[in-house]
């Protein structure tokens, strides 16, 4: 069984017990434990079930690479799936549960899949469930969804109570990884005077070295690390952070750091996670190395673990994973585990060394301690179900003939070490294959390059393939000096610390154990634990023609789980290479992508949630609307009143009331959101002629004109009223959503095409509040305010005037978007609320009625006025909308003119705007299409028209609509049918003039 020893544990504090639960059962650990170490101390070896076959799985590693021990943390609003038990620090009251099991971890129904494993090979889902198609949705998919999948996503209504933040940091040198190489690199760069930021993903400095042993400068590793950290802390130019992972390296020295501030201590004030957005001139990746598992039958049975992990649990946490541990290794490092276990008084029945002649000094030391060492030996098969009970040993080279069986409850395996090259590779760093050490290493001649074309990443230490203590430290020093020099800081040449550690013999790469393993062994030899990919799956993929590693990865799902194949990639590659008869470097690696380990969605969002997610733009009258029962409609970042329902009124009733009141007497519209752009300068008229299809340069001062803007591709992009303020100045009104876009459009043309024209533009949208005063009594209420002559003679339709209205400095435009007598009154934004209140008060005797966007839309549709975004969709030209009258024939050029000369645009045979009137008076479904005979080339029904706007008109008492219909204006009076969303219910409508109400314009011209 796994248990806590009576002493030991360099990271745990035995004076501080910590209570927590796993699957509802109470456990006790110590401060400093990870969830994995505390569960092991409580003999909870099994921590989850595998993805596909639901096989029992125990923890296999002790760090970020863990594929098996994924757990749910927290409950309700703080629930989080797929947390690695090996990197979760326990705290008082922690609640964890296992994943992917039903009904329980111990008794899982889905484990039946394991008995079907011969029938669930690579690509099984692709092959099996493609036919017959109808079965997929109702039979296969529900079954697969029930039986597959890891953690559960949080409930959709759950709201994360924690806070997160982004943090920007700039530094000369960023060192990722706080092992001895990273510490040495930071020391060198710091001493050279560079600004240094050092990140370590765990809570502790020094990496593996304190567990692995050796001496640095005559000190034991813990003492040296403490001294190094002390020196770094004392340097004002150095910042250091634990619990902060270098998540990804991107172009031009951009690096994401992921700091976990309160995961280990919930309830502490401040954000839970912090996303560091770092811009570094130079990056040193001292990210260490990861031990590889070995592929033998039963290598996933709980109790089979990486040798380094067995050692970590023992030394760091005082936890013995088993009473009797068989070590199986291809290199000298495995002996460290055997020696450490023996020293702790635990039984090590044998070390099985795959190498014919065994190892070096560490092997000798193990033998001296009385440990049985068998060379040229491996494991053919692990015995046990939910826990290892023993191993069958065999010669490494053969097909697995039994030599002997050894009873044990733990297997510590070491397949050699792979440098963590993920960050090096994220931004284009290349790799080379090191035959002697059997690993990919950074090719420093092909480093990621920055904005200046020079390398900006330096790998250091074990991450650079220097796996032994002495070379790790000296390479860390080289990395720090290289980075410091590249940022213009003269690096020192002080001696690198002296180290002493046993000399290690060369490893022997073993990709399958035994090397001639028969099918029944290979089919139980796991490569990717998390995605349940076996040696036989990769071999099958190779037989079926998947030669590219990228294809094999996707076909077998090798390395595609949440651990991104940290343990499985190289073993999988080697298996594929062997199956294809190629060398490993020829097969190549898959792409390493950030983040290194998953980061929280909260950290990505940072502060940008709730009301901070997007700025809310408010008009000066916003509070009045809010206080008067407004129903809001989002328009861009603005909130505009949709309508103002009174008590007991539906929004539809409110809209009808607002329209009727406006047409009968007086309506008020908050039009402040309308875009307002000043175009000024000696060449303003010339520029306006290019922007608009109309001849704006001839607009008289004091007059207004409705204008159209097109893209260079000819399509209508915005519309609005232009007022000429003086000879050199135009005030452009745009749609509410179009102001920023149109202003950018103007600047683009001015700066990049007509840069010699003297024109200045300014977006003054928010400088003015604007109110539409609309209806038969519009003039009366304004005259009541007093101060300006607004008579028909003094101020005819489509003019503007400056003046004072009711004591407020105002600009009045006599324009109409409703067909009523209408004025738009603009005042400085700070006076907007005063104007609104004054109008409401003065208008009381006329039943002044505030109206919203829906009433605005209905009234404009009754008049046949188009709306950008309804009648236009990026394929519509002004000519389609019968707006030829707004296109100047006198101009040589405007933006979009050349495009509109193309044969398919300069063509009568197009869909054009018409009015549509249902025969039964009903309202046509908005967006409905009118089908016609025949089929398109894609086999869909041909169509001959589409509804672009559709409303019930309270003024006319029936449904009205506008639409684009093939050659519509030539088909007046014709009845065509429109299909509802179900595709079959048809509504007949007659093609009519789009102006439904007051076609002579009697109401607005008074």
């Amino acid at each position: 069984m796994s248990t806590r020893l009576s002493h030991g544990g360099r990271l745990t504090d035995r004076s501080t017990p910590v209570q927590f639960t796993f699957n509802g059962r109470s456990f006790s650990g110590y401060a400093g434990d990870t969830l994995a170490s505390a569960l092991l101390a409580g003999d909870q070896m099994m921590m989850g079930r595998s993805f596909k076959y639901h096989r029992p799985r125990g923890v296999v590693s002790s760090g970020a690479e863990e594929p098996n021990a994924l757990v749910n943390l927290g409950q309700g609003d703080t629930h989080e799936p797929n947390a690695r038990a090996t990197t979760t620090e326990i705290f008082q009251g922690l609640k964890a549960s296992s994943q992917n099991h039903w009904p329980s971890l111990e008794y899982d129904v889905g484990a039946v899949n394991a008995h079907l494993s011969r029938f669930l090979p690579a690509g099984f889902y692709y092959k099996m469930f493609i036919h017959p198609r109808p079965l997929w949705k109702h039979v296969y998919e529900p079954f697969i969804r029930q039986s597959a999948g890891l953690g559960k996503a949080p409930h959709p209504e759950a709201r994360d109570p924690d806070t997160y933040e982004h943090f920007y940091a700039y530094t000369d040198v960023l060192v990722v990884g706080g092992g001895v190489a990273g510490l040495q690199a930071a020391l060198e760069a710091g001493r050279a005077g560079a600004e240094v930021l050092l990140l370590e993903q765990t809570a502790h400095w020094g990496g593996r070295t304190p567990v692995d042993g050796g001496e640095i400068d005559g000190l034991d590793p813990d003492a040296w690390i403490e001294k190094a950290v002390g020196e770094l802390e004392a340097m004002p130019n150095v910042r250091i952070r634990t619990r902060t992972m270098g998540a990804g390296i991107y172009d031009h020295g951009y690096v994401l750091g992921y700091e976990r501030l309160t995961d280990h201590a919930p309830g502490q004030p401040g954000p839970r996670h912090r996303l560091w957005r770092i811009r570094a001139k130079q990056v040193v990746t001292a990210t260490g190395a990861i031990e590889r598992p070995l592929a033998f039958a039963g290598n996933d049975i709980p109790g089979v673990m990486l040798a380094s992990a067995v050692r970590d649990y023992l030394v760091n946490y005082g936890v013995a994973v088993g009473d009797r541990t068989v070590v199986v290794t291809t290199n000298d490092d495995g002996y460290r585990t055997a020696i450490a276990l023996k020293r702790a008084g635990l039984d090590v029945p044998a070390v099985l060394d795959a190498r014919e002649y065994g190892g070096g000094a560490l092997m000798d030391q193990a033998k001296e301690m009385g440990i049985r060492v068998e060379t040229g030996r491996g494991i053919s098969k692990v015995k046990g179900g939910k826990r290892v009970t023993g191993v069958a040993t065999c010669g490494i080279a053969g097909s697995g003939a039994l030599i002997d069986e050894i009873a044990c409850d733990c297997v510590a395996m070491s397949g050699g070490w792979s440098p963590v090259v993920n960050l090096w590779s994220h931004c284009g760093g290349k790799l080379f294959w090191d035959e002697a050490q059997a690993c990919f290493r950074p090719d420093t001649d092909r480093a990621p390059t920055g904005a200046d074309g020079k390398p900006f990443v330096t790998p250091a230490g074990a991450a650079n393939g220097y796996l032994y203590l002495s070379e790790t430290l000296s390479d860390g020093a080289v990395g720090g000096r290289t980075a410091a020099t590249a940022t213009g800081h003269a690096a020192g040449d002080a001696a690198v610390p002296e180290t002493s550690a046993p000399v290690e013999a060369a490893p022997r790469p073993v990709w399958m154990m035994p090397e001639g393993a028969p099918y029944e062994y290979r089919a139980k030899a796991w490569l990717d634990y998390q995605n349940d990919v076996k040696v036989t799956d990769v071999q099958l993929a190779a037989r079926e023609g998947f030669e590219s590693v990228e294809h094999t990865k996707r076909y077998t799902t090798l390395g595609m789980a949440t651990d991104q194949g940290k343990l499985s990639n190289l073993n999988g590659l080697a298996t594929l290479a062997n199956a294809l008869g190629e060398e490993i470097p020829q097969v190549g690696t898959t792409t390493f992508r950030p983040p290194y380990t998953p980061i929280s969605m909260g950290s990505i969002a940072g502060e940008a949630r709730g009301s901070v997610f997007q700025p809310l733009r408010r008009t000066p009258m916003h509070d009045w609307h809010e206080a008067h029962g407004v129903q809001w409609e989002p328009v861009g970042h603005w909130r505009r009143p949709y309508c103002f329902p009174k008590a007991g009124e539906s929004s539809e009733q409110a809209v009808h009331r607002e329209i009727t009141a406006t047409r009968d007497s007086l309506g008020l519209l908050d039009a402040s959101t309308l875009g307002k752009i000043l175009v000024k300068g000696p060449d303003a008229g010339r520029f306006m002629d290019m922007l608009y299809t109309n001849l704006m340069s001839k607009l008289a001062v004091g007059r207004c004109r409705y204008g159209l803007m097109c893209s260079e591709n000819g399509f209508l992009s915005d519309d609005g009223v232009v007022a000429r303020l003086d000879e050199d100045t135009f005030l452009v009104h745009t749609t509410t959503g179009g102001a920023d876009r149109i202003h950018a459009h103007m600047e683009e043309w001015l700066q990049t095409e007509w840069w010699d024209w003297q024109v200045y533009t300014a977006n003054v949208t928010e400088q003015y509040a604007q109110v539409g005063v609309v209806g038969p009594n519009a003039r009366k209420v304004l005259e009541k305010l007093g101060g300006m002559d607004l008579s028909a003679e003094a101020m005819p339709f489509m003019t503007w005037a400056d003046g004072t209205l009711g004591g407020l400095q105002a600009r009045v435009f006599r324009i109409s978007f409703s067909g009523e007598l209408s004025f738009e009154v603009a005042v400085p934004a700070g006076q907007g609320r005063a104007l609104w209140d004054t109008l409401m008060e003065a208008g009381a005797e006329f039943n002044a009625t505030p109206y919203g966007t829906e009433a605005l839309h209905v009234m404009r549709a009754e008049k046949g006025f188009i709306m950008i975004g309804d009648e236009t969709d990026g394929t519509v030209i002004p000519q389609d909308l019968g707006l030829d009258w707004a296109i100047s024939k006198k101009k040589d050029d405007y933006i979009g003119k050349r495009a509109q000369e193309r044969s398919f645009m300069d063509n009568a045979d197009r869909w054009k705007l018409v009015g549509l009137e249902t025969l039964d008076g009903s309202v046509l479904p908005d967006g409905a299409y009118a089908p016609t005979d025949g089929k398109t080339r894609n086999g869909q029904r041909n169509t001959q028209g589409r509804v672009t706007s559709s409303y019930f008109s309270p003024t006319l008492g029936k449904g009205i609509a506008m639409g684009l219909v093939h050659n519509g204006p030539d088909r007046m009076g014709e009845v065509i049918s429109f299909a509802a969303a179900d595709g079959t219910t048809m509504t007949e409508a007659r093609i009519v003039n789009a102006v439904f109400f007051d076609p002579e314009g009697k109401k607005q011209n008074v």
């Binding site: 591709n713 700066q751 095409e753």
Partner: protein
Amino acid sequence: MLTIQCPHCGVQAEETELSPGGEAHLSRFGPGSEDQDFEAYLFFRENPKGVHFERWRHVHGCGKWFHAARCTVTMEVFGTYSAQTTEPPKALRDKISEKRPGWTWRDIA
């Protein structure tokens, strides 16, 4: 995430401050131009593996458009210059030649 220096205000701008504007040095073809010329102006774009000239706007900064010469493979930025010119400056072209001998882009070399 790129950093590109705005030649107008001098800021070493983050990519999030900038908005891309596609290929640089297009010649506008207006009314009266041939269909092929107009088509090329509106739709045909270079897609080089290597040296490229493109437009950027320092939209969350000084608001000015500018041009950048960049390597689409390595993301190296060779230099930036005013948008108010019809071809890359000689000094910049020479600098690119030093780093990428024999480069061409459209009819520029």
